[in-house]
Symmetry: C2
Subunit: 109 residues, 2 copies
């Protein structure tokens, strides 16, 4: 795991609303509009946060057809487990060098 991937997870979880979203999804999958109502935010805003969670691989969206024929996008939690220690960080920084990234913040692609 590179530091870039690690950072995607860290900053992905690093927002109160996104923690709340994780909390809501813990009990089962929910479609977007319903989720927006539950956490009390607008849909466009929710989309933005979901995008970050999805990029971090913490959440997954699936478009389905409801019984009454309406398109519904269901969001579900992807089980995750990360250990945060000094070793984790060192491993990430080391993985960067293997990939040719000389420093944590470098962007060559």
């Amino acid at each position: 795991m590179t530091s870039e991937e690690l950072l995607t997870v860290l900053t992905g979880l690093g927002h109160p609303l996104r923690l709340q979203i994780i909390g809501e999804l813990a009990t089962g999958r929910v479609h977007v509009s319903e989720l927006a109502r539950r956490v009390g935010v607008s849909r466009p805003l929710l989309y933005m946060h979901l995008e970050r969670l999805e990029k971090a691989g913490l959440v997954e969206g699936r478009l389905e057809l409801s019984p009454d024929g309406k398109a519904m996008k269901y969001i579900e939690l992807r089980p995750f487990s990360f250990t945060l220690t000094v070793s984790t960080v060192l491993a990430a920084l080391h993985a960067d060098q293997e990939k040719g990234h000389s420093r944590a913040g470098d962007r060559s692609d």
Copy 2:
């Protein structure tokens, strides 16, 4: 651990430069000016990042006198270990309610 504390750690680690700082400190304590040189940033900027790391409890600063009488602020890593799972998040959200932190979307059941 409340979600606020969890977020302090997540956003505390959630920056490339701060990961790099952790990496530098892993081999041993370093004083501020030297650390700034190693990670290649200005001292004022480093102070800002150190402040965040310190608030998250990941790092500790100690002012000491060098052999030649100069004041030196040594930064050292505080060993940490956090597990990031859905349960962690749920526990944090639960801890919030115990503390009476109410939000807009809170349920009272």
